[in-house]
Symmetry: C2
Subunit: 319 residues, 2 copies
């Protein structure tokens, strides 16, 4: 490794975006590549919406809504109101400024540009100097099986507020999809790879199942560090805890570590979960026990700085 | 004719929408069908924009911006601002509420619905009880030939503010397009047909050139009355006067009447043009000389009431 460390973060939505922002603070924007889950992308009113990409984009551009973590700060909702006036259900909160992203993304995709190129254009226009890469240019769609039948992910997540029991999760189209060359190259060149504190089932999960991505991680020379999205057995945000339980996993940092076993070299867990550390370490992972909850921007930078030091403190153990 | 007269108005943008609104006041919403020019439709940021349809729609829904005549009253422009923030030229004023129309229209067209059905759905959702019919479901695009080369219509009209000299006007795709069955049926059933005070070259013009529409007008049993968009030789709005001159027509009510000769039975002109009345009448048209400028909503109703009385006062002279 020469110069600044090159860091690749695998991210879902809000938790991933916060971690990515911390890594930018810790290592510098140009050194960070964020690989983003696209399995919860969907089409709304004919527009291609990429919730996780948008959350990472807006966060790194410094325009994210600081209260909820997604959407644009102080955005208005006049268009959505008018769409409701036309009799359509405004179940998904699309802001007016936010809508510009969806409109221009959809236009570019229809003109034949790849999601990778579109995302790079949008990020550049917003002054983002990190690289934001969708995991794939192909369509993958998370489907949630519930007692009431299968639900598209945003139906489950937003419209029905994650109230359904999750019996199974499937990723439509994933066998035919492939990781992009850009993601593969970034992983190969990385000095450190961070699995962000995102939902291990529906955010990190599809990335690890995407043909070519796990293989790229395994072949990478960099150490892979995962950050637990579960603290004290609870998800900081979203339904990860209940989803873990209903799918037969332990809803804890140790349960997450077990999902990542065989892939991840280092595991970061919160001090409240310190008692789980020996179990995780006994599974062969190095551990970092620290304040892992990012309450504000300085928190993100502090946690990321610790993770970078932890991740770079040792070369990878050859497989 | 039994019961209320059925009126078909052929309309372009603002002048046509005002006339349509007047006819609704005069005859009742359910009795009015507005056939609207679509040759200035275009695609912006991947969205299908239909400026004349929207102007008629918003006017009849009572939500049009009363100052400029197009767009939605007190609309905001947050999305357009964000699109500009992405580096795109915000040359066409798309409001946030307005955008809902473009988004839902585009979605429906892409799903395979016809522009006729989409327009009916939008109008119904906004509580419009008149029938608003696009002239065709096919793509027709007005092209303006200028000394600097050809321009798409909205480029000429909005972006370049009608400053270019118009050497010629062509309607791309018009030979392959056809009038809809709905327009044909409305014309056949009409008791009175009104050519609104819209630009005779680029608003009424493409309708009269559209395969099947002129034939339907000629075959109609109803009297056809045209309202001059030129008063005192000047267009009330837009470039009709300069366009008439540069294309070799007289820029006056008489020049407009000459363009409609052989098709129109009655012609409505403003009192300031009373001296032109004998020339127009000598061409075989009946004439109505009145206050033909619609300055406010009551003006529209008053003018329309006069036109309906004028148009229904005599049966059509058989050809």
């Amino acid at each position: 490794m020469t110069g600044s460390p090159r860091i690749v973060a695998l991210a879902g939505g809000v938790g991933g975006a916060k971690m990515a922002d911390g890594l930018v603070q810790a290592a510098g924007a140009e050194c960070v590549t964020v690989v983003v889950n696209t399995a919860d992308d969907f089409v709304l009113y004919g527009l291609h919406i990429a919730p996780d990409l948008d959350t990472v984009l807006y966060t790194l551009a410094g325009i994210a809504n600081p209260v909820v973590g997604w959407g644009i700060d102080r955005d208005t909702h006049a268009t959505l109101g008018a769409i409701a006036g036309y009799g359509r259900d405004p179940w998904f909160q699309v802001g007016d400024r936010d809508l510009a992203t969806h409109i221009l993304r959809t236009e570019a995709l229809r003109s034949g540009r790849s999601l990778t190129h579109v995302t790079a254009d949008l990020a550049a226009a917003l002054g983002v100097r990190s690289s934001i890469l969708p995991m794939t240019n192909d369509r993958v769609a998370t489907m949630i099986r519930t007692p009431d039948g299968p639900l598209e992910f945003q139906d489950y997540f937003v419209r029905r507020r994650q109230q359904d029991e999750v019996i199974d999760v499937a990723f439509d189209g994933i066998e035919a999809a492939s990781v992009t060359d850009e993601v593969r190259a970034a992983i190969a060149a990385a000095d450190l790879i961070v699995l962000c504190p995102s939902n291990p089932i529906v955010s990190i999960g599809p990335m690890l199942l995407l043909p070519g991505l796990r293989e790229a991680l395994i072949a990478a020379g960099a150490l892979i560090v995962a950050v637990s999205p579960l603290v004290g057995g609870k998800a900081l945000k979203g339904p990860a805890d209940r989803m873990m339980t209903s799918l037969g996993h332990e809803s804890s940092a140790a349960g997450v570590a077990a999902l990542y076993a065989g892939l991840v070299d280092g595991f970061v867990l919160d001090t409240v979960d310190a008692e789980l550390e020996p179990r995780i370490a006994s599974g062969g992972m190095r551990t970092l026990v620290t304040e892992a909850v990012m309450r504000d921007a300085p928190d993100r930078g502090r946690l990321a700085t610790e993770i970078v030091a932890f991740g770079l403190s040792r070369a990878r153990v050859p497989a």
